[in-house]
């Protein structure tokens, strides 16, 4: 319950306190670090930063290229995007460097991360702590009012990572293939029976795949037992909670794409199958990628986005600096620029990336806030009035457990460890 209390959507009661704290925060955050920051900028300019980030989406890659152009102009920093197929690659690279005794010249300067990967890196002491709050632009996120920017899947960030954007699990469907999409998890079961082979989710440990399983897990767990999901999983609690999930999936899988015998390995494959009209329903963590893909003709115009009525899983994604980064200062400059108003506003444009900003618009001037206004709603984008309750991320220990058991139950024939 601790975590759910902390989440922004549950903290209306604490607004009063937030305002007071905010006043305090504004008064000390920038002043305390101004001269230090000058030092960081002085040391960090004119160098090269290797940014390890998932590279499977051309739209995001293009935005990162824009970032590179900007930091080149402003700080003469060469930002190289190392395109990962899985963030865990960078995690194990840093781990390998640490075990090889490379404590100062790491190849990873900045890494796009959240969730289990962050938890693993934090646990092994692979990240530089206490820098994120020092970024001048961090104040714009209004951390006192939005404590979520300092929590990653419930784990405190301790300044090891700086927020970059946020997302909620969104569904989208092809309105030409199906008029009435499922609005709850139970609907999904009956919808799949009627539209056999038209839905699937990526194979865990893919992020979207795991997120779907977490959404199902939360929805299937009775209200009185939900607090168990926000504590470390134990054998006993797993025995209480997980059977419902497996029971549900046992019923769902025969009606999935390829009869559930083959799962795609990532969400980009999911989007392509939607574009091919092989699927009629899919899900994503970045709602704006849907209208953007429609704009780029990668999805048909009949695509519509919506939130599940029984809740949407939401989370924030971050950038972190490994403890042994060669260019730690330059990476901080980049991270600070990522939090700047122009960078965040551009990122939120549906035609660019459409990733929701982590800035608190109330801290901005009217002109600055206006940059975030969406011009006209796209017919394929999520309706603003959508009133889906936000579901907080369960404790990371559940993720490991779900992954492991899913692979044992359904992955044996279609999954090879360490391969793909």
């Amino acid at each position: 319950m601790i975590f759910s209390k902390c989440y922004p959507f549950n903290c209306q009661k604490s607004r009063f306190w937030a305002i007071i704290l905010m006043l305090l925060a504004i008064s000390w955050i920038p002043t305390g670090s101004a001269s230090d920051w000058q030092e960081v900028v002085k040391k960090g300019e004119n160098s090269t930063v290797y940014f390890h980030a998932w590279g499977g989406d051309p739209q995001i890659n293009k935005y990162i290229e824009w970032l590179a152009d900007q930091v080149k102009q402003k700080h003469n920093i060469d930002l190289h995007h190392i395109k990962l197929t899985d963030t865990s690659e960078a995690v194990s690279r840093v781990l390998a460097e640490k075990s090889a005794g490379n404590h100062h010249n790491g190849k990873v300067d900045l890494i796009w991360i959240n969730g289990a990967n962050f938890a693993a890196m934090a646990q092994h002491g692979l990240l530089t702590p206490n820098w994120a709050e020092q970024l001048p632009n961090f104040a714009l996120t209004n951390p006192i009012k939005n404590p979520a920017v300092t929590l990653d899947f419930g784990v405190p960030t301790h300044g090891m990572e700086s927020p970059w954007g946020q997302a909620a699990l969104t569904f989208y469907y092809d309105s030409q293939a199906t008029q009435s999409p499922p609005y709850t998890l139970q609907d999904l079961l009956s919808w799949s029976a009627k539209n056999s082979g038209r839905f699937t989710y990526p194979k865990p440990p893919d992020f979207i795949g795991v997120s779907f399983l977490k959404y199902a897990l939360i929805s299937l767990t009775p209200k009185d037992k939900q607090h168990l999901l926000y504590q470390a999983a134990t054998k006993e609690t797993a025995a209480i909670i997980l059977p419902k999930l497996w029971h549900y999936l046992d019923a769902l899988h025969p009606n999935l794409w390829r009869k559930g015998r083959f799962f795609v390995s990532n969400s980009t494959a999911l989007r392509r199958l939607m574009g091919d009209t092989e699927l009629s329903l899919a899900l994503t963590f970045s709602a704006a990628e849907v209208p953007a893909a429609v704009e780029r003709y990668d999805l048909p115009t009949s695509i519509r986005s919506y939130d599940m009525h029984d809740g949407s899983l939401s989370n924030i994604h971050f950038v972190a600096i490994p403890y042994n980064a060669t260019q730690s200062n330059s990476a901080q400059i980049v991270a600070n620029f990522m939090l700047s108003v122009p960078a965040q506003a551009k990122k939120q444009q549906p035609s660019v990336w459409g990733d929701q900003t982590v800035l608190d618009l109330s801290t901005l001037s009217t002109e600055q806030a206006a940059l975030f206004n969406q011009t006209t709603a796209h017919s394929s984008s999520l309706t603003v009035s959508s009133k889906s309750p936000s579901l907080a991320e369960p404790h990371p220990s559940w993720v490991a457990l779900i992954n492991q058991q899913w692979l044992m139950r359904y992955g044996a024939k279609s999954n090879m460890q360490k391969v793909n």
Partner: protein, 570 residues
């Protein structure tokens, strides 16, 4: 012959040795660099004692047997299929002008990188691909794409199709090349005529008379195709199954895994891959011997017709299907790259847009510059080495030793997955941190054999009297080389340059491994995007991959003509 002692001559005479060292050291060093870790010796991980744990881990990998079987079956099946179809086409059109038309239609596939070809084929056979669109809904009644598992089927059928389509033009071209040798071609055609006059139907005449004498010229290309098919990663990555993948792809994943301990398993895998490829080559050779022995009596049994008419019809159909596949997959790529909305089962997009090209071109400048930089650097060095080595041959008045000629082809015969990782390890040992340099160096290994092969015949055919004449007019060896020989060889040098560029452009594994994943080229991007969200962007990259070598060849054809014109005007 009295040799002059100037700097140029010294450099030329030294270059064959340098070339040998350039090829032998990395390849053999690479093999050692795989052998040591395979037996558990990795100082970097504090493992200094030899053990078999890598092999134990490898054999205990779930699905290991499937991986090996998949590698073997896909390599054998695709090579056999490509060979059979090549011979059928040759037999069926041996006396027909269609043979050269088919060659012209299939020939351009040669310069298409494997990755691009694989992408084109995957777009063809996918459930919403061109084939199913063309036949839907009027024939199949499909309003939505069918639920078939192509590509990535676990039997490797898509992969076999891809390999076959890509290797067939190569074999056909090799066969036609042999037939275009003046004496051999004329003799075989006359013998074919004799057999027909003895009452043999054209098909049987080809198989009983021409093929036994043509086969020796196809043996090496076939073995090269087989070796490549057993160990390549691009085609299985794009068309093959992923649960489990082929052994080569699995090895690549293990090597690329930043969990360094997996390198032991991967090295053991590379050794097994090498053994596997050798076993395949030996089996092919045995199969050849067996076929020869078995067919010995049937060749002279006097039977003149084995349903030749049916076989001919079958060949017509196969050839038609093949050419349609090539045309359709290329058309598919072009359509996708310009496609607006394109809902299944429409066979044409609703609208055509240039946006995908525009966006991709805006994004690809870094990878494009890398591609060109690496290609030009590697090819330039390779050309210099090849020319100097050939010049040394003429100055010494003796051709390369058998050993040396074998060494030049080494990188073509040894599966690259087996030695490249060792090479990466070597580069780490000498602390070569410069990714771009490492990539250029590794490309050089693959560019040199082709460039040398392509230059050798024209250089050796050059009439020595021109050089003698120039020398008698007082020209130094250097000026004979630069001012007489090179201008006369302008055309072959341009072609060799284009070939070198094409080979460099198509390299995936050396770029990925030796660059440590830090160097993006059009090819690495195309392979990454092949599994991405956008068919349209992926098509643009695949087409770019095809356009670059095509452009290089067009320039190679055009530049000598232009120079020629210019010189004669002046």
């Amino acid at each position: 012959m009295i040799k002059s002692r100037d700097f140029f001559t010294q450099a030329v005479l030294l270059s064959p040795k340098l070339l040998m060292a350039l090829l032998i050291l990395p390849v053999l060093g690479g093999l050692v660099g795989v052998l040591l870790p395979a037996f558990g010796y990795i100082p970097a991980l504090n493992k200094m004692s030899f053990s078999l744990e890598g092999f134990t881990a490898l054999f205990n990998t779930p699905g290991f047997c499937q991986m090996v079987l998949l590698s073997i079956s896909s390599a054998l099946a695709s090579t056999l299929l490509a060979f059979v179809i090549t011979t059928l086409i040759l037999a069926c059109y041996f006396n027909s002008p269609w043979l050269y038309r088919i060659q012209r239609l299939l020939g351009p596939i040669l310069v298409i990188p494997h990755a691009a070809a694989a992408i084109a084929i995957s777009f063809l056979i996918t459930p919403s691909g061109m084939i199913s669109r063309l036949f839907s809904p009027w024939l199949t009644a499909w309003k939505t794409p069918p639920d078939w598992l192509l590509p990535h089927d676990s039997w490797g059928i898509s992969m076999i199709l891809g390999l076959t389509l890509k290797e067939l033009p190569f074999l056909l071209l090799m066969a036609l090349g042999a037939l275009s040798q003046a004496d051999l071609g004329a003799k075989l055609r006359a013998q074919h005529k004799i057999a027909m006059s003895l009452g043999y139907c054209p098909m049987t005449a080809f198989f009983k008379v021409v093929l036994p004498n043509l086969y020796p010229f196809l043996r090496l290309p076939l073995l090269a195709v087989l070796a490549y098919a057993s160990a390549n990663v691009e085609i299985p990555l794009i068309l093959g199954p992923n649960a489990p993948p082929t052994l080569a792809v699995a090895i690549m994943h293990w090597f690329n895994d930043v969990d360094l301990t997996l390198r032991i398993k991967a090295s053991a895998g590379a050794i097994i891959q090498l053994v596997l490829t050798v076993i395949l080559l030996v089996s092919w050779w045995l199969l050849e011997k067996l076929t020869k022995r078995v067919s010995q009596t049937s060749i002279i049994n006097g039977k003149r017709d084995y349903a030749g008419h049916l076989v001919m019809r079958f060949t017509h159909a196969t050839t038609f299907i093949l050419i349609s596949c090539v045309v359709l997959s290329l058309a598919g790529l072009v359509l996708w790259s310009f496609a607006g909305y394109w809902r299944f089962p429409a066979s044409l997009p609703d609208q055509f847009v240039t946006m995908h090209w525009h966006n991709a071109l805006m994004q690809m400048h870094t990878s494009l510059i890398n591609t060109l930089l690496i290609g030009f650097a590697a090819t330039f060095i390779a050309i210099i080495f090849a020319l100097f080595t050939l010049e040394a041959e003429q100055q010494r008045a003796q051709s390369l030793s058998r050993f040396a000629s074998l060494v030049i082809y080494l990188p073509m015969l040894i599966p690259s997955i087996a030695f490249l990782f060792g090479l990466v390890w070597l580069q780490e040992q000498v602390n070569s941190q410069h990714a771009l340099f490492n990539v250029i160096f590794s490309h050089l290994l693959f560019v040199v054999p082709y460039v040398f092969l392509s230059l050798a015949s024209s250089y050796r055919r050059l009439d020595p009297r021109f050089a003698n004449l120039a020398a008698s007019l007082g020209a130094t060896p250097a000026s004979v080389f630069w001012r007489v020989k090179l201008p006369m060889l302008m055309s072959p040098i341009c072609i060799a340059f284009a070939l070198g560029l094409a080979i460099s452009f198509s390299q995936y594994l050396p770029t990925l491994l030796n660059g440590g994943g830090r160097i993006d080229t059009i090819t690495t991007e195309a392979v990454t995007l092949a599994s991405g969200a956008s068919r349209r962007v992926s098509s643009v990259y695949a087409l770019m991959q095809m356009l670059l070598p095509a452009l290089a060849f067009a320039l190679a054809w055009f530049i000598p003509k232009l120079l020629n014109k210019y010189q004669h005007k002046a």
